[in-house]
Symmetry: C2
Subunit: 470 residues, 2 copies
């Protein structure tokens, strides 16, 4: 049948002056693309019918729970994912040590409006920010001074001494992707407390990083400039933030703040790594990963239990389908993304020392929601070399709602940039992410099993296509 095809083609080709080899190439590409479409369908069938990741996520977020780097739970998570990887039939599984700073929340924080002429005393729902200092058991009290931005605080630096600084700029909800709204507000949480401390504030509170009006306070990392004293710093719920801002319009507000946070110093922790050695190009590595640590509250189900279990599911899917990778596949559970990135940095350092080359790295750290594609970043010349493939893959991936677009990657794989491969970030639907991000509420119920599975399938498909590049 194919031979007859070819003979007829040669006839026409002679008439039309076409090149036989270009025909052969096109035919082979078409066959190739048909095979690829078929394999991607198998990946999705496997993911949707035989998903294991939801069970794994249940264990990680509900049986282990919040697992900030250095905590006992973080080591339980290392052990758990190592044990899971041991069942996946990989060639090697190992723990890679890294040094982390263990920040400990201690007894529950309090933020209370005190002696207010309008409402008397009122407890606000708050979470201390990661890295912030403790107030001591007696707490601190002071008058609140509200700013909408770091610049506004700088412009009023003389008024800040002994006050409690309150950063209140909300998300700009006009952004279509909530990560952009986050990006437009998070400087207040990351740099606000350090600035407040430098200018003599007793404490700093920040409106929680979410576009939703609700009663869940959000924690998250805050950075201290060298030599700056880490004062108590907390996120308050958006509903409480609205209330506080309204009260401040009427008259001065005094707050009582009590936190018991402490920096417990260096601990040894681990990233967990599994590897399937490539059959043809073992020296070119394709990595899938997420970060194993989470904040200490909630269960870190979306952030980033999802990325971890999806990465392991990628291996399970490809193994179940009998796929023998041509390049080396690595599955990495990075340690300490939330407050230090020790895992990602150590991984890249060790990899550099061994002279490894990561051909591509894919991180899932934007929640276990319906995937919409991948963003890419990395070395320009390599990207130019491979974007024609991305365009070719559009026919294969768009039926699954996936599009490959410029701009992406992830914090943990960022340090691999120097190896000049391509860095991908999974892009899920972002609308619900900041309902849960860094809260008590980031639990298994917030993750939908099918949406999670579709993310695994998307990642497995991309791994497969990358591995097929000649």
């Amino acid at each position: 049948m194919i031979q007859r095809h070819i003979r007829i083609y040669i006839l026409f080709a002679h008439v039309l002056g076409l090149n036989f080899f270009s025909y052969l190439l096109t035919t082979l590409q078409a066959q190739n693309s048909e095979q690829q479409a078929f394999f991607i369908k198998s990946i999705y069938d496997e993911a949707l019918e035989k998903q294991q990741s939801y069970e794994w996520l249940y264990f990680l977020s509900e049986k282990i729970g919040g697992r900030i780097a250095g905590s006992p739970q973080s080591l339980a998570a290392v052990e758990f994912t190592h044990q899971v990887m041991d069942t996946l039939g990989m060639d090697t599984v190992w723990n890679q040590a890294c040094e982390v700073n263990y920040w400990y929340r201690g007894a529950r924080e309090r933020v209370r409006i005190i002696g207010n002429p309008h409402i008397g005393d009122l407890e606000l729902r708050a979470l201390a920010l990661g890295g912030s200092g403790g107030s001591g058991p007696g707490g601190v009290s002071g008058e609140v001074i509200e700013f909408k931005s770091l610049d506004e605080a700088r412009a009023n630096s003389s008024k800040i001494k002994d006050k409690i600084v309150y950063f209140s700029r909300p998300f700009d909800n006009k952004f279509l992707k909530t990560f952009h709204a986050y990006g437009s507000a998070v400087d207040q949480r990351v740099h606000g407390p350090s600035l407040a401390s430098k200018l003599g504030a007793k404490a700093c509170i920040v409106r929680s990083m979410t576009g939703r009006l609700d009663s869940f306070p959000h924690t998250g990392g805050t950075l201290w400039e060298d030599g700056v004293n880490p004062i108590p710093a907390l996120g308050i719920s958006t509903l409480d933030a609205e209330k506080l801002s309204a009260l401040l319009k009427k008259s001065p507000v005094r707050l009582y703040v009590e936190t018991h946070c402490e920096n417990r110093g260096k601990k040894t922790s681990y990233s967990v790594i599994g590897e399937i050695r490539g059959s043809e190009k073992p020296d070119e590595i394709i990595l899938v990963g997420g970060h194993l640590d989470s904040w200490d509250v909630g269960g870190g189900a979306h952030d980033d239990g999802s990325g971890c279990v999806q990465s392991m599911e990628v291996i399970k899917i490809l193994k179940s389908l009998g796929y023998k990778p041509r390049r080396t596949l690595r599955c990495v559970m990075f340690q300490n993304e939330e407050n230090g990135l020790a895992g990602g940095k150590t991984y890249a350092e060790e990899s550099g020392k061994r002279g490894e080359f990561h051909f591509a790295a894919i991180e899932s750290d934007a929640g276990g929601f319906t995937p919409q594609g991948f963003g890419y970043d990395g070395d320009t010349s390599r990207i130019n070399q491979y974007t024609p493939y991305f365009r070719e893959w559009d026919d294969l991936l768009s039926p699954y709602g996936l599009h490959i677009t410029k701009g992406g990657g992830g914090a943990d794989i960022g340090p691999l940039r120097s190896q000049k491969g391509i860095l991908f970030g999974l892009s899920p639907d972002s609308q619900r992410y900041f309902d849960y991000h860094h809260t008590e509420n980031d639990r298994i119920h917030a993750v939908h099993p099918r949406e999670l599975a579709l993310g695994s399938a998307a990642m497995a498909s991309l791994v497969y296509l990358l591995d097929q590049i000649p």
Copy 2:
């Protein structure tokens, strides 16, 4: 500036032998497309910042609740949406009467495994299906006979007399879109009970129409062939269905079934219609709508409170932006989609009598989730005429994750097909829809305000683009 542009172009055009008018057209199109992009951005800003639909949905699903056609709640919903539309500054708002059959669930249904050698008695979580008959207060008991399909039941017709027929085929979860999985299983619910009754069964139970394993039973419509006695028919939760199927593998199972459903006969109900008269082509109508009725359990938040409030929000957005439609805009809350389609049929009949032409109709009835685009259907020649526009709009809509694809529409607008316009259905992400569909759980908490708002913005953008067609 533009003039200088044109002069330079004419110079080049002479050199290159181009046509000045084609340039002008291209330039005007580009300007046009830029204006359109700008207006669509305004629509999204308005929807994301000043959404009202979530408040409306709260009232509809939580203050009014389940509102099956003919029920007191269904008339409360008519009054509520009429009052809302009265505030939107439309030219006319009216109720359109239609005759509906009022099916009444009555006292709570029971399905109980009785005297089982393995587990004794066990209550199953069940909901009577819409249109099904009552058992009488004494209930009915019988031995269960399980089938995976209507065909299997037909092939075993001699074994069915006096039994309780159980249709147990699950969703095929390999389908990417859950509506396809629904389509592959729902014949059991729609036609199973009638078939069972015809073959002498005492009652019929059906595995609930969801791909998820949980304890929520799903109701939904069932159809009776002419002259067939409506026996008790119920959906049981998927977890209970799994349990029942497992028990049936061991030994015969007897069930007790009790339902108190009754057909309360014809009632007059209403669809609610609002209109803004077109400034240039008033005789060409663009319709947006959803269905106002829901099942009697839960709050009908996704099905289809969402479609109703999104359609009203479309009007609110366009009004807020000062948009004067060239064609007539209609916003329609259809009555009785769930069990009779009286609203949709009556609307099309009345419209036909008045010789109206619906240039386009857009229905939202697939849940208030993140929109992924629109499916279209309708008259072939008109579609051929307008698909070039759809392709042109891709640049405008794809930044919002929207794609216009073949195949769509909706039940309520289906009867308008004879007017030979184009029928569109909003296509949201479908992964979570059948967690809630037709259950007690279809309540406001299941709808995300931003996802809902994005659907309104998508619909308003399509209305705008359709209205801009010369």
